[in-house]
């Protein structure tokens, strides 16, 4: 049984006013337990609206969402249940920090789950470890931290609830390359260690291509492409017409192919490209 099942989901903002906007337009999607899914799409394609349905923050206008067998829209208890099962990290989550200390902020979620103090402590420390927040920072105010550290604390605040499904909305937006790299690594690590299902929303192809095992491409509120990264990136023309870039490695492969080099154009990581190029050069050298 898939852990997330979405059936012809539609969401309309400000229905019946001049500002009416169909943000999600008939999406069908199934996600299996333990998958690492990357969600990409241009700005305004409905990604953020879509993921807020997965933990019951928004209710579908038509269609249904089933999380691990329950429909969050069916009752208040179901919604609360699903909210702890599906952890959602919003875009720029650092603006939600409010407690006096880092520790207490991370503990907010577990406390709402009704755990006892010992459990809370364990959950908080583990979550902080996952995102690389050192225990020496536990007693500082979240407002004193640097931007990158705030982001980590905010992500820890969601991971601390030990959700079976972790959804992150552009977790690396506005960070420097080193910070981006290490947060992505933390997320990968979390996925591998806990076996949780992870949905990562991003518009950086290079980031997402490397770590997701499946890509779902959104365009104008619909799923335009869905499949393994290699499949998705072989539709380079379509991606470009949707206002999306293909990863740099694919770009180079395409350019080489155009000039008559016999190369697999569905590659998408720099490492693989380098290997291919080296082997090609070997062949050229032989001639």
């Amino acid at each position: 049984m898939p852990i997330i099942k979405v059936e012809s989901l539609t969401h309309v903002y400000s229905r019946g006013t001049p500002f009416e906007k169909v943000a999600v337009d008939g999406i069908d999607l199934e996600i299996e337990k333990g998958e690492f899914v990357g969600i990409i799409g241009h700005t305004g394609s409905g990604k953020s609206t879509f993921i807020q349905h997965l933990n019951g923050l928004l209710s579908p206008d038509t269609g249904r969402v089933i999380i691990d067998g329950t429909d969050p829209a069916s009752s208040k208890e179901a919604a609360r249940d699903v909210r702890f099962k599906v952890g959602l990290v919003f875009q720029y989550p650092e603006y939600q920090l409010f407690e006096e200390t880092v520790y207490r902020d991370i503990a907010f979620g577990p406390k709402n789950m009704g755990l006892n103090d010992a459990e809370i402590d364990e959950y908080v420390r583990r979550a902080a470890w996952f995102v690389g927040v050192p225990e020496s920072l536990f007693e500082s105010s979240p407002l004193e931290l640097s931007g990158g550290q705030k982001r980590r604390v905010a992500i820890a605040g969601v991971i601390a609830m030990r959700p079976q499904v972790l959804i992150l909305d552009e977790p690396t937006a506005g960070l420097d390359p080193a910070g981006r790299e290490s947060i992505l690594e933390n997320i990968c690590n979390y996925h591998q260690t806990t076996g949780a299902t992870v949905l990562l929303v991003s518009h950086s192809m290079d980031d997402i291509a490397r770590i997701a095992s499946r890509l779902v491409v959104f365009s104008h509120g619909r799923v335009a492409l869905d499949g393994a990264p290699a499949d998705v990136f072989s539709h380079a023309g379509e991606l470009k017409s949707m206002g999306l870039a293909v990863p740099q490695a694919t770009e180079i492969a395409l350019a080489l192919k155009k000039r008559g080099v016999d190369i697999d154009e569905s590659i998408y990581t720099i490492n693989y490209l380098r290997k291919l190029l080296v082997s090609l050069r070997g062949e050229v050298g032989k001639c």
Binding site: R83, F90, L97, F108
Partner: protein, 267 residues
């Protein structure tokens, strides 16, 4: 959910009412309110109502839109009507318990409700057809003479424009933070009153921190563009009265005069 507030909402348009100078509209509104308070009988109320209807027709504002703005005031309107109805002076038509319903009371209640509704609708006409920015511009120019008595008119109007500009931003931010805290299991709508008050902390702290951060950034941005108050500041859009404004003034004066005449003759 929070998006539904129509606080000072502006409907852009290209009608004669939209084109009026904001100062004209402010003065017209004051004249309209004066007329409303001078009105004492059916004839003058009818006259004012016709004025309101004509303006809203010209401005392409539907009656439904105007009435929907009244919704938050429903309680006050009903309450005023009841008080007037139940405690009217004069011969009682009907008595029960401590209440006396009189002819004068019914009369008062009906007029009071009409007055409040027309007052609010008139004010909404102004905000529906004038963008907040041009409204504050007009207000600043109208209040300019008060600079003589050291009233910081420019600063006040700048504060008002900034406040108006940031209302939608803050509403959006409140929505976002609420969602984010709900995702961490916060409950805003259940529990005892004290629990609910405590539950607001995760919302209010980030909201205030954000507002202060924004204020700081805005101040820096203004300083970088050499803002130093109203002294010697010129405007890109100079406000000038045109023919249509004088027509509006004439209409306003006529309305007040007519209401005065009707009041005098007690029609």
């Amino acid at each position: 959910m929070l998006k539904n507030v129509t606080l000072g909402q502006y409907f852009p348009g290209d009608t004669p009412v939209h084109k009026l100078d904001p100062r004209t509209k402010l003065i017209f509104l004051i004249g309209y309110i004066v007329a409303l308070f001078l009105a004492k009988n059916w004839a003058s109320y009818a006259l004012i109502f016709i004025t309101l209807a004509a303006v809203s027709y010209t401005a392409h504002i539907k009656p439904k839109t105007l009435l929907s703005g009244l919704k938050p005031l429903l309680f006050i309107v009903v309450f005023t009507a009841l008080i007037n109805l139940l405690y009217g002076p004069g011969e009682p038509l009907y008595t029960f318990w401590i209440f006396r319903i009189t002819r004068q009371g019914i009369h008062n209640a009906v007029f009071m409700v009409l007055r409040i509704m027309m007052l609010v609708c008139g004010t909404f006409m102004l905000t529906y057809t004038t963008s907040p920015l041009s409204l504050t511009d007009g207000l600043e120019l109208l209040l300019n003479p008060l600079k003589k008595i050291k009233l910081p008119v420019h600063e006040l109007s700048m504060m008002m424009s900034i406040a108006l500009r940031f209302i939608p931003t803050l509403i959006e931010e409140t929505d976002k933070i609420m969602s984010a805290q709900k995702a961490r299991g916060a409950a805003f709508d259940t529990g005892k009153l004290t629990d609910r008050a405590r539950a607001l902390l995760p919302l209010l702290v980030p909201l205030f921190v954000g507002a202060f951060r924004r204020a700081d950034e805005l101040a820096t941005a203004m300083e970088c563009r050499c803002y130093h108050g109203g002294e010697g500041r010129t405007r890109m859009k100079q406000l000038r009265f045109a023919g249509i404004d004088f027509a509006a003034f004439a209409l306003c004066a006529l309305l007040i005069a007519a209401v005065c005449v009707l009041r005098h003759f007690g029609l």
